[in-house]
Every structure is written in C-alpha cells, then in structure tokens.
Symmetry: C2
Subunit: 192 residues, 2 copies
C-alpha cells in the first residue's frame, strides 16, 4: 500500500526524518489523510483540524500543504484520534477516525492504541506490519459541517501591530493595552 | 549567510516546499533558530516554545528535530515574535526575539513587521534581501528559566485510554467521564 505520494516504507523513512522517530500514530495518520482525500472532491482547497496534538499533526504536515505555521492546520485537542479535512470556503468536510471497534483482529494495534502494554514490551515492527496489513479497514468516516469561524475569509487578518509599553515588544494591538505575555503568566522567568 | 544547514537561497526553497509560500517570517524564524543554537551548549537536548502561531513554528520544524506532533515544539501564543530554546531537563534557555528598535535602517522589514503597507504594495524580494543583509543584527536575546511543567519527566505520559460512552471513540481517561468533544463545543456538526 502507498501513503500519499510514498510507498509504505518510504513514508516510514520520511516520518523518521521529520518526527525524529517512527511513531505508529503518524503511520495511522498518513492512512487517515489518504482516506480523507479520497472522500473530498479533487483539486479542492482544504484546511485540516487534528483532534490530537500527538503524531497526527506531523502526518498532515508531511502529506499536505497544511502546516501549523501557515494556519491551514489547526489542533483542537479532544485527545480523540481523528482528523477532519474540509473545504475552507464552504465548511463541508470529512472526519476520519480510528474506530476502536475494528481492532479485534489487530492485537498489536489495540495494545498500542489503548496503551495496554508498556512501550518496551511492544514491537514497533509488528505494529507497523499490522497497520500495513490492516490498510484502510480500521478507520471510519463521518461527514461534517465546520463552524463559520474556521472558514477562510472569516478569520481576522492583518491586525494592527503595536509595541507593548511594558516589554517593548511588538504584538497584535487588538489584544489589549499590554501584550498577552505582560497581561498574564509566562512559562519562564528572565535570568539575564 | 547560511540558515541552519542551508544556504540562504536553499532555505528559501525549503520554506516554499514546506510552507507553500515564501513567508518572510519563516526566514526571520530561521535566523532566530540559528541565534538560539549559538547561545546553547552544543549537543544539548532542547525543546522549543514559539510565542506566535504564525510562520515561526515552521522555521523550527524545518531546522530542528522539534515538531508539533512530537511535542518538542509548543506554541504559547502571545503574538510576540519570539522563540525560546531550552534544556528540557534543567529549563535553562535562551529567548530570541525580533527587536523593533533595530529596524530603523530596514524600512522594508519594518513595513512588513508592523503591517504598515498592504501586502500587494510590499516587495517580497526586497524584504528577503533586507533579512539577508541585516543578518543577525536586528534580533535580541534574553536568558530565561522555563517553568517546571514544561520540562521532560514532569509531563504526564502514558495516560490511560478509554472509550467515551457518548461518541464511542477513544480518549484520555483522566479528562472526565465523557471525552472533551462530548463535554463541550466542537467546531463542526455531523452531516452524515
């Protein structure tokens, strides 16, 4: 089986290069991206929502033009293993998720997905082979309509930039009289 | 000048491939990654925080092993143009930001950074040339100590996974009796 423009094995290599390790979740994610694409009209401009911050976003970034930095990929972290690809103008989309009801025949995937065994007792090779052999059979799809605030043209663009009088750094002016960092907690303290 | 392992022009090509367009912010981000690295001990394991969701995360993903999907890159969106790279065990790090005080000699960068001109009136070529010629001179650094909750070993790992009784999908069991999607609003409605 292929994943996107890659053979299965080549995709595994791409994952290793980009993600730093071969996480089974990105292999699943790659197959999910393919399923979503097969269910969308060809040539359509789509955006993506991932419902998990783990692994799935990297599959999307490897296989589609959508990245975190260009804003076409967003994470709404429900911790569910699902991606939604949707027409960025109409909001019509397809949601693809790993359906746990389909894992009875795939104990390696089940152990990995539900974390039933410690990682060191699981075989990466067996998990990957199972994902390869299961193909598209363990996923399910759902048609969805995305809310207007996630569609192109409704997002705020080109907000004015101003200098925060507290930290002297530039920020989006409509977020208040101080930048968000100076309004609230930051995850660090300055040490020099 | 080089950016990471690339010549300036090769990095511009990599940005086009990954991000879909040559956004000046990723060029700035690439230079910021280099500055951060020069200020960290060699061979150290570091994580990254971006303070903007726009462009900067893609520079980090192109030039470091840190991605959104592997969790080594996180976005804390203050809208300030800054990245922090830090030792994931000790929390000692370096924050790099574009210092608007240094833009007097670089009108093209200033117009872009503060959005003083409509995009179609700006010249991408001139902005890129200015970033190239300004090199590392327009950024500033700050030593920081990252809060414990962002350090390795303190993050919750291997949380139990359970099936949501409402949607029948798997989620992190410690997030409540229903998955977060069924607890609250989702950005879509099911249409089939």
């Amino acid at each position: 089986m292929n994943i996107g423009q890659y053979s299965f094995d080549d995709f595994v290599d791409e994952v290793r290069k980009f993600h730093g390790s071969v996480a089974p979740g990105i292999i699943a994610g790659g197959i999910m991206v393919d399923i979503a694409r097969q269910n969308l009209p060809e040539g359509e401009f789509f955006d993506v929502i991932c419902e998990s911050a783990k692994c799935l976003p990297d599959a999307v970034q490897l296989l589609t033009p959508c990245t975190i930095g260009n804003g076409w990929l967003r994470i709404i972290n429900t911790t569910r293993y699902a991606i939604t690809m949707y027409n960025k103008y109409t909001g019509e989309g397809i949601r693809v998720y790993l359906d746990a009801d389909n894992l009875a025949d795939w104990p390696d995937i089940k152990n990995w997905f539900f974390r039933l065994k410690p990682k060191h007792e699981q075989s990466l090779e067996s998990i990957l082979k199972s994902f390869h052999d299961a193909g598209q059979s363990i996923y399910a799809t759902q048609k969805v309509q995305i809310s207007p605030e996630f569609l192109a043209g409704t997002r705020k663009k080109h907000r004015a930039i101003t200098i925060c009088p507290s930290c002297n750094e530039a920020y989006s002016a409509d977020l208040g009289e101080l930048c968000p960092a100076c309004q609230g907690k930051l995850p660090y303290t300055s040490t020099g």
